[in-house]
């Protein structure tokens, strides 16, 4: 106890350097825990992109590829699946619902997705939250469009705004479906998922805008007016993929087997959770790299602390000689220096965690808004507590370097310090 008080007073007398060490450690700790929080946040945002959907069905492809285009709107499907096949899936006794989706077109860089009204009913994200409308509702008219929160915000869309869908990814001028403008009928609340960046239209509308288009041609052969389109049969023959919900957990694997072994068409059904995990292991390398970098920063800060202590040690030989002369044991000198390392690192860790919480408190709404990254302001996790304890112990361990040096000084100096 005496040692700790002495260490504290000694540090207080060198408060500028001590404070700098503490701040260096605190910043590194904030970074370390911050990276950890972002890592967890990113992972949970990522893995909670889709929930409540039991299976994703698409043309035969790898799990990750199917997940990428159907959920993340990245890349394209190798081929479509026929509506007949989906009808067969829907007819299974275990299947509760099937929501088809069609991708391919875009609007000012955002992907356009054709789907049914059931999509808004069944799609779930993060802990089975349903999609909610900030304004308006799902498609009522054929040319109604529902936009995600990010699109509405970035492009300044309001209810009733007219928009034009481009053919394909919109790289070719003139390949626009400008004969059939859409009207915004609903704006979705922010979800932090790719839904925020999606333009939703009905499957029928998607069919309508492609009347007269040949899939091999970038521009239409004939153009049809919107009014004419309304009179035609717009039921699509095929879609890109479908989300499937089952009645019970047991039904999932049975349905998956049925789809994967479907004779009439080569299909793939994946469990979103499994595919997300698979995808995360690919992205996960980055998280390991981030953690490694932040751990290095912590180590650097600890080495800085040791350097500071070592550099002041020479001026403190007299102080240590005084302590020895009044009866302090050699190990007391040793413990004194270890205590300093302990006090510095403990203060640094507490300050760092405090800083991070303060920062999180102020920026988390903004991070959530701008990046869709959901950062928890929760108690430190067990992993974090373990890491922080490990950092504290490491600090005490590196504190042995100056402690041993001081110990040796106190032996060599005897009763007189050569100045």
């Amino acid at each position: 106890m005496t040692t700790l008080i002495l260490a504290w007073r000694s540090l207080a007398s060198r408060r500028t350097t001590a404070l700098l060490s503490i701040i260096a450690i605190a910043v590194s700790i904030s970074l370390f825990v911050g990276v950890e929080r972002i890592r967890i946040g990113a992972k949970s945002s990522f893995t909670s992109t889709i929930s409540g959907t039991d299976l994703i069905v698409g043309a035969r492809a790898g799990n990750v590829q199917l997940l990428l285009y159907s959920v993340f709107r990245i890349g394209n499907a190798t081929s479509n699946i026929s509506m007949n096949s989906l009808e067969a899936v829907k007819a299974q006794s275990d299947v509760a619902w099937v929501v088809p989706i069609s991708l391919g077109d875009s609007h000012r860089g955002y992907r356009v997705m054709g789907t049914t009204r059931e999509y808004f009913k069944y799609y779930r994200y993060r802990n089975k939250q349903p999609l909610k409308f900030t304004e308006g509702q799902d498609f009522y008219d054929l040319f109604d469009v529902v936009v995600g929160a990010e699109i509405a915000e970035k492009l300044g869309y309001e209810m009733g705004t007219e928009i034009i869908v481009s053919h394909g990814i919109g790289a070719i001028d003139g390949a626009a479906h400008d004969n059939m403008p859409f009207k915004v009928s609903g704006i979705l609340q922010r979800t932090g998922t790719p839904v925020d960046r999606t333009v939703h239209i009905s499957l029928e509308a998607l069919e309508a805008i492609h009347i007269g288009w040949d899939s091999n041609n970038p521009i239409p052969i004939t153009e049809v007016s919107a009014d004419l389109a309304r009179t035609l049969d717009l039921k699509p023959d095929s879609v890109t993929a479908a989300l499937v919900g089952t009645k019970s957990r047991f039904g999932i694997f049975k349905t998956q087997r049925f789809i994967n072994q479907f004779k009439q068409e080569p299909l793939t059904a994946v469990l979103p959770g499994v595919a997300l995990q698979e995808l995360w292991t690919i992205i996960g390398v980055v998280e390991t790299a981030l953690s490694a970098v932040s751990a290095m920063v912590v180590l650097t800060a600890l080495l800085g602390m040791v350097t500071m202590t070592l550099s002041t040690l020479n001026e403190r030989r007299q102080e240590l000689a005084i302590l020895r002369s009044v009866g302090a044991h050699k190990t007391t000198i040793f413990l004194l220096l270890i205590s300093e390392a302990a006090l510095l690192s403990a203060s640094g860790i507490l300050l760092g965690v405090g800083l991070l919480y303060a920062l999180l408190f102020f920026i988390h709404p903004w991070i959530e808004q701008s990046y869709g990254l959901y950062l928890m302001i929760s108690r430190p996790s067990l992993y974090e507590l373990k890491s922080l304890s490990a950092i504290f112990l490491t600090a005490c361990a590196v504190g042995i370097i100056p402690a041993f040096r001081a110990y040796r000084h106190s032996l060599a100096d005897g009763m007189s310090v050569q100045r």
Partner: protein, 245 residues
């Protein structure tokens, strides 16, 4: 060299005896020290004169038990510290010795009174003795008062004090809790003539009050006359320096 006995008047009742000391800093060290005999009676004051390099720091370190001789015995109050473990020597030093350095005697981060109280943290015996007439803090205040450190300075940081005041606070720290032997290593070398005399007077008064022995090392011969014994370190210890280069 002739054996030098200091305490003729109270033979057999020595506060400190050093016998047949051999000391070498390390195996290949260029410096070693040997001493046949040195004895100090209870409450006696010794003036030890020696130029730098004569081995006085080594001798004081030996007496304080900070370093150990290769051979010989060092008895303090009848206890041979050479035979004690390191922890026991530290405790004995805390209990029985008070040390005053040349300068920078005080911990810069403590207040004046905290510095005076410092030895009590390492010695229960002195803690107890300092509590004989009230709390240790009261005892420290009385001591400081006697040493001419006014009350308003007691809670100040030591940096606020002059060198002379700091040396007097060091006396207070050395003497609190009534140790038996005070070791002062050139305590006056940083002081001017007037403060030097004042310092010595106070040091003598305080050591006499608690009946502590005093070993004062200095190369200033003019101080020597007030001591019971005057010794030249060159006459009691042999040192040899061999240049290994």
């Amino acid at each position: 060299m002739a054996e030098i006995k200091l305490a003729q008047h109270n033979k057999g009742n020595f506060l400190l005896t050093l016998e047949k000391i051999q000391f070498c800093w390390s195996k290949n060290a260029s410096f070693n020290l040997s001493l046949d005999s040195l004895r100090l009676g209870v409450g006696e004051k010794v003036f030890l004169e020696g130029p730098s390099g004569s081995g006085k720091s080594t001798l004081l370190s030996l007496i304080c038990g900070i370093i150990r001789p290769d051979r010989g015995s060092i008895c303090i109050d009848g206890i041979d510290i050479v035979k004690l473990g390191a922890g026991q020597v530290d405790r004995l030093r805390a209990d029985k010795l008070g040390v005053i350095f040349q300068q920078f005697n005080l911990l810069p981060y403590g207040s004046v009174i905290q510095n005076v109280l410092l030895p009590l943290q390492f010695s229960q015996r002195r803690q107890k003795q300092a509590s004989a007439f009230g709390t240790p803090r009261e005892e420290a205040r009385r001591l400081l008062q006697r040493l001419g450190i006014s009350t308003d300075l007691h809670e100040q940081k030591v940096a606020q004090l002059s060198i002379g005041q700091q040396q007097r606070v060091a006396v207070g720290r050395a003497i609190i809790g009534d140790p038996q032997l005070i070791i002062a290593d050139e305590p006056t070398s940083a002081l001017d003539h007037d403060s030097r005399d004042q310092f010595l007077t106070l040091l003598f008064e305080e050591t006499a009050r608690v009946n502590a022995g005093l070993i004062l090392v200095s190369h200033d011969r003019s101080l020597a006359s007030d001591f019971d014994h005057q010794l030249d370190i060159r006459e009691i210890v042999r040192t040899s320096s061999r240049n290994i280069l």
